[in-house]
Symmetry: C2
DNA sequence: TTGACAAGACACCAAATGGTGTTGTATTCT
DNA sequence: AGAATACAACACCATTTGGTGTCTTGTCAA
């Protein structure tokens, strides 16, 4: 698991279901330390930490050291890139529905 | 490379840049056989075929046999799931911008 | 019908992934 | 000061990934 490289691909970061669950979890709170995050998962603390490192490399999460714990916080802005990417295809599937409706019209 | 399992995770299918390039390529045309697709990539025919198989398992691509060639066509509809997922976070980054504007107001 | 071509199927390989446990180092508590 | 805590860093491992080449099958053309 590569956890040091900066600027990790955002699509890759988001591909893993554990990582998506992490984002969703952090969306509900302001900040959360690793310990508390780990509670919500089956795997060990180390594994969760690595996933968070990957999200951090993709700039989707901000880590902030507070005393002996590091608190993680969501940074949703990079997700805009994915939204932009996917919305390009939005036209295509809407076009498909229109075509389908035309076909249904003709059947009548 | 797992290329037989049906119902592959859509996020995973889209995570690879080669696969995204494939989707983009197929968005511009109606249908394209493997041979012509391969021209656009550095890698060999087998590799491209595998990527297409993965997209097919994610239902993002439809393969249709015509004579001795198989023509591939884009099926954009499953991408709606990703759009739904990402649009949940849209509120968060917009909220961020609002907060930022408030901060700038206070500075004045 | 024989030869050329398209592409799927398969075996193979190096590298990346996702997990584990252990060790080291700040930091807090008593 | 000393014990306990939080977590990063590291070594390790099995599985998956993304590519390669070869073989085989089906189809078109001469």
């Amino acid at each position: 698991m590569n956890n040091t490289r900066p600027n990790r691909d955002i699509y890759d970061a988001v591909a893993d279901p554990t990582r998506r669950k992490l984002l969703r979890l952090l969306a509900d709170v302001e900040e959360l330390p690793l310990n508390e995050i780990t509670v919500h998962f089956q795997m060990g603390r180390t594994a969760v930490s690595k996933h968070l490192a990957i999200l951090k490399d993709a700039d989707l999460v901000i880590a902030r050291r507070v005393g002996r714990e590091t608190r993680y916080r969501l940074n949703p802005t990079p997700l805009k890139e994915i939204q932009d990417w996917v919305s390009f295809y939005e036209g295509f599937w809407k076009e498909r529905i229109v075509k389908l409706n035309h076909l249904l019209e003709e059947k009548k």
